[in-house]
């Protein structure tokens, strides 16, 4: 179990982020479509969480004391599946059938079919409520696990997020951590044009949360925020607002509205693989 495991170094985590992006491109080609850019903005987040922070035991995916992670922006699951396989939750070869008829692996994650997925998601706005429930259950059962929830910034338009935010601080769920992948775009454009969601940190603060803001592609900064998480079962919940770039790592996709869902074929595919395989995406 990862309870006392030493953290991998930053270069290793960065390499895992590259792996997440490459695998996303590979799996999207199997499906003929994929959410590239929503994963690319969260690649460092996912890598830092899964390889350096979460208390997990891939041999026992239902371990009651494990940390929970709810991928509220469920459309980034294509980037999470390779991580779970890499950690040993299931055979990597299973991903070769991604999206095929009857596969456990679809665009959105299914907790009943995939070891390591703590909750099924896909309908935006639900995940923080799920996480509130998990954190509550942990406190009632006197377990000390943390519950992490990854949300998109566009998702914050969903009203249920704020119902959940209100209840999390009221219920003093100090082991609940929301991470907002603030990649600046939703499908139709920049959030500032479609629907203003900023200032995310002060809005959460107004709802009674401890809020911090960090460059979501800066792995040392992310690790520092993880280390600084309070361990107070009755304190305020924490939100980490991660400023990111949607499509980070592939120049043609960065802050582009054209690649929320896409399909790389031919030379475009090989060009992107080369770009991701080459220089450090930082």
């Amino acid at each position: 179990m990862q309870t006392t495991q030493a953290r991998p170094d930053v270069a290793t985590i960065a390499e895992k982020a590259r792996f997440i992006r490459l695998e996303t491109v590979r799996l999207a080609r199997i499906a003929g479509a994929g959410h590239y850019t929503s994963v690319f903005s969260a690649a460092e987040l996912l890598a830092a969480l899964y390889y350096a922070q979460l208390r997990l035991d891939p041999e026992h995916p239902d371990w009651p004391d494990r940390d929970r992670l709810v991928l509220s922006k469920g459309h980034a699951a294509i980037g999470l599946y390779p991580v779970l396989a890499d950690l040993g939750f299931f055979e990597s070869a299973l991903l070769d059938g991604y999206s095929r008829l009857g596969s456990p692996f679809g665009d959105h994650p299914d907790m009943k079919k995939i070891p390591g997925i703590d909750f099924s998601s896909g309908s935006l706005g639900h995940g923080l409520s799920v996480s509130v429930g998990m954190a509550l259950s942990g406190r009632i059962a006197r377990r000390d696990y943390r519950t992490y929830c990854i949300l998109g910034d566009g998702e914050l338009c969903e009203g249920q997020v704020w119902e959940a935010a209100m209840s999390a601080s009221h219920l003093r769920l100090g082991r609940l951590v929301a991470i907002v992948d603030a990649n600046q775009l939703c499908i139709d454009g920049f959030t500032r044009d479609v629907m203003t969601v900023e200032p995310i940190d002060t809005r959460f603060e107004a709802f009674g949360w401890r809020a911090v803001r960090v460059d979501g592609h800066d792995i040392p900064a992310l690790l520092e925020q993880f280390s600084a998480l309070p361990d107070d079962a009755e304190g305020p919940p924490t939100v980490i607002v991660a400023d990111t770039i949607k499509g980070k790592g592939v120049r043609r996709m960065e802050l582009s509205t054209d690649w929320h869902v896409g399909n790389l074929v031919g030379a475009d595919y090989t060009d992107v693989i080369a770009e991701l395989s080459g220089e450090d995406v930082r």
């Binding site: 309908s123 409520s129 509130v132 998990m134 259950s137 959940a164």
Partner: protein, 343 residues
Amino acid sequence: MTAPMIGQDQAEIFRGTAVGSTSLRDPRSADGNDRRAIPAFVFGEELADLAERDERIVVLTADLARSNRANDFADRHPERFVSVGIAEKNMITIAAGMAACGHIPFAATFASFAALLGCEQIRTDCAYPRLPVRIVGHHSGMSMGFYGTSHHSLEDIGIMSSIADLTVVAVSDANHLRAVLRASLDHPGAMYIRLGRGRDPEVYPTIPEVTFGKANWLRRGDDATVVATGSMVAPAIAAAESLAAQGVSAGVVDMHTIVPLDVDAVLEAARRGAIVTVEEANRTGGMGTLVAQTLLEAGVTGVPFARHGVPDEHVPVGPPAALYASYGLDADGIAAQVRQVLG
């Protein structure tokens, strides 16, 4: 029914409403009835008893703990009681998160808000992951009376019945509620439990056997069977008794589990004679519709049949008893339906 207009007999329309002031602290409820006389809301008390032996039970409400008597649970198990404020969607999804961590959450609010406002949360967060969340929709049907359409729940059976992996149960009285709550603890997957307004007359003098998917035959008749659910079981029994006095032999089935429907009970009723289904809900998509499709798919023909319920309209305001009488959802109305299908 045509909505009553101002100038009609107001005394009749408002018959049964309170005279004098009441408050939430008052044992009488806002409509003047004695709160202490509510028999069926043993919800909190029964769960509090069960929770003494079962650590999995937690109860959630959305600012209606007095109305649904969840406060009886909160008094005894405050650490396992969750008040979310007026946020039904949040409540249902929080319950799902708790169920994913080993708890059995009972999330209670008015049926209209549970099933209509929380529909997607029930489907996506509870039913689809097959989590043991119990959504308790109380004050269903038109039992909220003069509160009006926003608080009426005539569509919940239709909506909930169309969701896969969701057991749909309607409760007919206090003893039945106790039995349903007990049986629910070992039932796999999510459930929608539909309650009336808590003043339902006694159907079961003792706590009955409840097997989900197995209807309870309360009496058997040779001419017709009334297949009733929830709040309509008691008037169905009264209707059968009055019909008996007129020489008509009518049975009564408590179809407490609407999904999965008890096909065998439906087919037995068809062998016995005419069938009248009755529910405090819109006819379209209701329990009666499920009975009808069951008969058709089984190739049963020639059985006199009627679905009794609300004819898919937004009902006017009024005291519940007056509304039931208006729609024939009482003993007289049910008996009349039976006589009509028998020709």
